[in-house]
Structure formats: C-alpha cells, structure tokens
C-alpha cells in the first residue's frame, strides 16, 4: 500500500486508526476536547465497510461497561473520553483490570478538578498510572506526542492489551487531540474472524461449545486464598510488563548536563526548549516517557549519574515529578515546572525555568 | 379405565426443606422428613405414595431442582 500522507486532528487520527487496526467496536459519549473521535466514526460509518460497531452511549459509565461486555466476548473494543468522563469510567476500568480483559481507553485530558476547563492539561497522570479506580491494578499507559503517534498507538495499545490481557490507555491531552498535523495512517488490517478470536481468546464468553467448561468473565472471588492468588498473578503480569514494555525517547541527551523529563504535548515544547537552551550554551536534554506505566525508571536512574539536575515539565501541579524523584532517589535535584488551568508554556518559559530552578 | 400413577425422587442432600413442594402438591403426597440432611435441613419425602399422580407440581415449584418426577398408566 502506498504511503498516503494526510492532514488531520489527533482525535480524527484515533478514529481512523481504530477502523484500520481491526477494531470491532467503539462505545463513547461526547465530551470536549475529544468529541471528534465519535464524530469521525459516525461520519465514516465503518459498520458498512469493516463491520465495526460504533455506538453513542447514554453516559461514560455505560460506554465503559459496553467495552467491558464486548471485551469479555473477546472483541477488540475501545472507548474515548476526557478527564471528567474518564473519572466516571474508573469503575469499569477497575472491573476490566480485575477480569483481565484487553481493551483500549483514550483520555484526551482537560483541566480539572471538577468540571475544570476544556483547555489542555496533563493533570490525570496520577489517575492513570496510580490506579484511578479501586484495587491493586495497573493500566498500560501510552502518551502520544504527535498526531502520528495518536494513530500509531491505537494498534500498539491493542496489541499490548491482548498480549497481557490488560486494559491499555492512551493518555493524550487537548493539544494533541485538537491540533492538526500530517499523519500516515496505518495499513488496513482485517477484523479477526470468530475462529481467530476463539483461538486467541480461549477465555472469552462467546457461547459454550460442548467440549469445554463455561467461560465466566468475572472479577469476583470471595475465597481469600483464591483472591490473593488472583492478585499475585496480576502482580506477576505487571512485573513482566515493567520488564518488557518500557518505551521512551531520548532527545539531545548524549552530552546533557541538565535533563528535562516531559510527556505528550509538553515534550514537544521541551524539544524546542532544548534547542533554544543549547543556542545559549546550556547543555539541555529531554527524556520523553512514551509509556507512563511502565515508567522508564531505570533510564532516568542512569541519567541521575550523568546530569546535574532534572526538571519535569508537566501541565499540572507536579505529578510525574514524584516518579522521577523515586527513580533518581536523591542523587540529583529534581524540580517541577508546570502551568495549570489550560495555559500552555512557551519554550522560552521552560528555558527560564531551567535557569531558575536547576542552575 | 386407565389410572395414572406417579412417583418422585427427591435429592435429599440438595433439598433445603423450604416446604414449597408440600404446599404445591394437589394430592397431599409430600411431607417433611423427621431426619435432617448434612446441611441440617429436613427434606421432602413421599409420605402418601399412593396418592401421587405424577403432575410434577412439586418439581416445578422446587427452587433447588431437587425433585425428579415419573408417571405411568396402569390398566
């Protein structure tokens, strides 16, 4: 297939990528700044081509439970929302994790707390990586920094979700969702046949054939011993994910004396800040976590032996900075610079923050 | 004239002694045992065997699916 470059919003890229990666169903509820995902799907009408089901639910709660139901029957299903809506989804996310179901959740973050603002924010980092719902669970969290990554991460997130039988989340923000950029959409991949699903997901509730026991999708286990074993199995899985699936990008890091750590749209601005800083003679580098969980703890710990100080740049009051500090473990100072309320920093502002806080 | 004759088998260990079968029986066949099962419940028994017409009312109302019903014609 010839490479076709298109210009579109990040939210639109999510929708097109979902259709192309063989997604079976999307269930969502409109909320700014991510409504274009559902709008695009409804305009494209993929049920007429790939057979993908698209449904506007009555609420985010309902949407995530549609995802839970569909995932339980082995289907490749997803939802998307923005911060307040993702809060509503946390019940379902916890159930997905507890029943070990693969699914994709997209959060195009806006500012909070509460109804907050429709402007971009990265204040759902804690909610995403520390477990927004109840219980000991983890979400595989991917943070795209471009429209291209919005498109690419849909397929990747599904692959990881099915590999580990665990929900995955794309944690974007209003900037990435709304901005238009060139993008090469992934090649079309057909939806799996029922036979392929039963082979890949022998655990799925698809209707019980004569030769097997009933498949029961549940997170309920009242026997303490069995429940502890379930949790230990989850923890072993999370450990395997932490060992195998850490993804990050290093930009201008080889000779860096100071290191920025930033994800998503903030990393884009930090990249420019590094260029400006270097023009001024400050050897500034950027480490961009692509997976927020599993977190690039080891990579950051190694930089603690190389750089003088680190600055996390986040559109929040200081959330990822805690994980960076845990990785650095006191070896070098780790500071935070953030803007709240929907204001996005300029590269110059970040360079000034480096000077003021690290030097 | 042919006469209908019925009989039931009660899964005594599964029975919880709710008595709904006793109430449902139109010919007063059933009663509760004096003994208890392993769960500590009195269980349903055929006390008046001859009266059973195999109508299955007992089995139909049994919440625990404890009762199997048989029926035959005697000439």
């Amino acid at each position: 297939m010839s490479e076709e470059v298109k210009l579109m919003k990040g939210n639109e890229a999510i929708a097109h990528a979902a259709i192309r990666c063989g997604c079976d169903g999307y269930f969502g509820y409109p909320i700014t700044p991510q409504s274009e995902v559902l709008e695009t799907l409804m305009e494209v009408e993929p049920w007429k081509t790939t057979g993908m089901v698209v449904l506007q639910a009555e609420s985010e709660v309902s949407a995530i439970n549609m995802v839970y139901g569909g995932a339980g029957s082995g289907k490749k299903v997803m939802t998307s929302s923005s911060s307040p809506g993702v809060s509503l989804k946390q019940e379902g996310v916890s159930y997905l994790a507890g029943a070990e179901l693969p699914a994709l959740i997209v959060n195009v973050m806006r500012g909070g707390p509460g109804l907050g603002t429709i402007q971009p924010s990265q204040a759902d980092y804690f909610q995403t990586v520390k477990g927004g719902g109840h219980g000991d669970y983890r979400l595989i969290a991917l943070a795209p920094a471009s429209v291209q990554e919005m498109a690419d991460f849909v397929g990747l997130a599904f692959d990881l979700a099915f590999k580990y039988r665990n929900p995955a989340i794309i944690l974007a923000d209003g900037v990435i969702g709304q901005m238009m950029e060139k993008v090469v959409l992934p090649d079309f991949k057909p939806r799996r046949t029922d036979e392929e699903i039963e082979k890949e997901c022998p655990w799925a509730a698809v209707g019980k054939p004569k030769n097997r026991k009933p498949n029961i999708i549940t997170s309920l286990e009242l026997q303490p011993d069995a429940m502890e074993q379930n949790n230990l199995r989850f923890q072993a899985k999370y450990k395997a994910i932490e060992e195998n699936e850490v993804r990050y990008e290093e930009i201008m890091c080889e000779d860096a004396e100071y290191l920025l750590v930033a994800f998503g749209s903030s990393a884009r601005i930090c990249q420019k800040a590094c260029q400006i800083a270097r023009e001024k003679g400050i050897k500034l580098g950027l480490l961009r976590p692509i997976t927020l969980w599993p977190f690039p703890t080891k990579a950051i710990a190694e930089y603690a032996n190389k750089v003088k100080a680190m600055l996390t740049v986040e559109l929040n009051a200081g959330q990822m900075v805690e994980d960076v500090r845990l990785a650095v473990n006191g070896k070098v100072p780790v500071e935070h610079y953030g803007r709240l309320g929907g204001i996005v920093y300029t590269p110059d502002e970040i360079v000034e923050a480096v000077k003021n806080k690290l030097m | 004239m042919a006469k209908i004759k019925g009989a039931i088998v009660v899964n005594q260990e599964r029975c919880k002694g709710c008595r709904l079968c006793v109430v449902a029986c139109p010919t007063n066949v059933l009663a509760m045992s004096k003994q208890v099962n392993a769960k500590g419940y009195n269980f349903a028994v055929m006390e008046n065997e001859d009266a059973c017409i195999g109508c299955a009312s007992c089995g139909i109302v049994c919440p625990d699916g404890c009762i199997t019903v048989y029926k035959t014609k005697i000439d």
Binding site: S62, K75, G92, G207, K208 | G17, C18, G59, P63
Partner: protein, 258 residues
C-alpha cells in the same frame, strides 16, 4: 404398583434441566431465584441455544448465577448489565444475550442503563427479579419496596415522604418505543411457573428472530430472609401485598398489538 416400577427412565416426566449443574445454590430455602434459574436453563436447553447463549449476572443475590447454569457468562458491575448486553449483542448478533437483574440493580443504580438499552430497542432479554428488598446486603430498602413495608433501612416502614414511592419500572419501560415485550409474572405456584416459562421463552425467541426490540420479564418474587417469613408465608404475603402494587400479566406485546 410398587414405586420402583414407576421410577424408570421411560416414565420420566420432570427433572431439573441438564445445564443446571449439581452445585448447591447459595440461595436461602424457598428463594424464587432458584425457580427462575431453572426456567432460564430449561428454555435455553429446549431452544437448543446452549452453545449460543451469553448471560450477564448482576450484583445482588444472583451474582453467582454463573455457578449454576452451564453456559458462558459475564458478571457485571452493579446495574451495568444492560450496557454490557448492548455491546455483546451488537458485536455478536447471532447470540442469545440476556441479563438477570434484581430490583436494586435494575431499578436503582442501573436505571439509566436499563432505560437506554430498552429505548434503543436492543435485541436482548432482561429477566428482572422484583422482591422489593435488597437480599444480598441484608434486607435494605429497594426502589420497589412497598409503602409501609419494613426493611433494614426503613425499619418503621417505607415512608413515601422520606423515600418516595415504589418504582413501577416495568410500567415506565412499557412506554418506550424500543420495547417489544413487557410482562410481569411470578413463580409462586406451578401454574405461575409455567406462565413465566412461556414468557421467558417468548422473550428469548424475540431476541433471536432478528426483528429487534427489547424484552423484559419481571418476576414478582419473594425474599423469605429479607421479609422475615417462611417461604410459604412469603408467597401468601406476596399475593396479598405485592400483586396489588405489581399486578401480573402482559404490559406490552408489540407482536400482538398489546
């Protein structure tokens, strides 16, 4: 004639359905759930749908229904079963998808999911067990608790000034254009059980004929433990108190213009 001569395979007229397994059910003695489970199992078996049925269990006493009927199941979060059923049926239109829900699950915490799934006319069947009380959590007030009825959270009787009125959710659902079949039944006598079985069969058949439309079978039920009565007395109390508030019969049958 000796009883041994009657108890022969060729004389069998009634037994519990094969897909209802031998696991001892956790329900209290006399609980209506057992009968309703049995009917669902019988209908699935008789329709030849064992390999094509996906059930959704609620949160409430029937949370463990999946332990007793040998089909594939998904266990829902409290009240969310109709949303799950919506997705499963749309993703697997050839399957029988049904939910099994109590009054708290369906008519309190899951009201939105219930109404919207029904309003969309999803080709699903909802088996709604209404016993006017929360059984599993120990007998608290349900949306369907009768006026004056005592529960753990309305110990002096339901006061409508404090708690509002018993919610006749099935009557509300009847009004939705997406609803194809709405019926209210009970399982307190053999005759009532037979009627309820017919209703469940009709609901399941509607799910499978491709014509669409949502189906609900409300089963007005007892909760001996919650009501603090014997099963026998519970049935009597239900007839005298529940049936006037929740009268039995078909509320809507689009196919029969009812």
């Amino acid at each position: 004639m000796a009883i041994e001569d009657i108890i022969k395979p060729e004389n069998l007229v009634y037994k519990k359905p094969d897909i209802m397994n031998d696991n001892s059910m956790h329900y209290c003695p006399g609980c209506s759930h057992g009968v309703i489970h049995k009917l669902i199992a019988e209908v699935i078996e008789e329709m030849g749908l064992v390999e094509n049925a996906i059930g959704i269990t609620p949160v409430g006493c029937a949370v463990f229904a999946y332990n007793y009927i040998d089909i594939d199941w998904e266990e829902a979060a409290h009240g969310r079963a109709p949303a799950m059923a919506t997705a499963i049926k749309r993703l697997r239109p050839n399957k029988l998808v049904f939910t099994y829900q109590g009054d708290g699950d369906l008519a309190a915490i899951g009201t939105a999911e219930t109404i919207h799934a029904c309003n969309r006319g999803e080709s699903i069947a909802i088996i709604f067990v209404n016993n006017g009380i929360y059984g599993m959590t120990g007998g608290q007030m349900a949306p369907t608790t009768l006026e004056g009825m005592k529960t753990a959270t309305c110990p002096y009787g339901r006061d409508v000034k404090l708690n509002g009125y018993p919610l006749k959710i099935t009557n509300l659902l009847k009004e939705l254009d997406g609803m194809r079949y709405v019926t209210r039944q009970s399982v307190h006598t053999a005759a009532a059980v037979r009627k309820t079985k017919k209703a469940i069969r009709k609901a399941f058949e509607n799910c499978m004929d491709g014509k669409g439309g949502a189906n609900i079978v409300e089963v007005v039920s007892t909760c001996s433990s919650g009501w603090k009565m014997t099963p026998e007395k519970s049935n009597k109390w239900m007839e005298e108190n529940m049936f006037p508030a929740y009268p039995l019969g078909d509320l809507k049958d689009k196919d029969a213009n009812i």
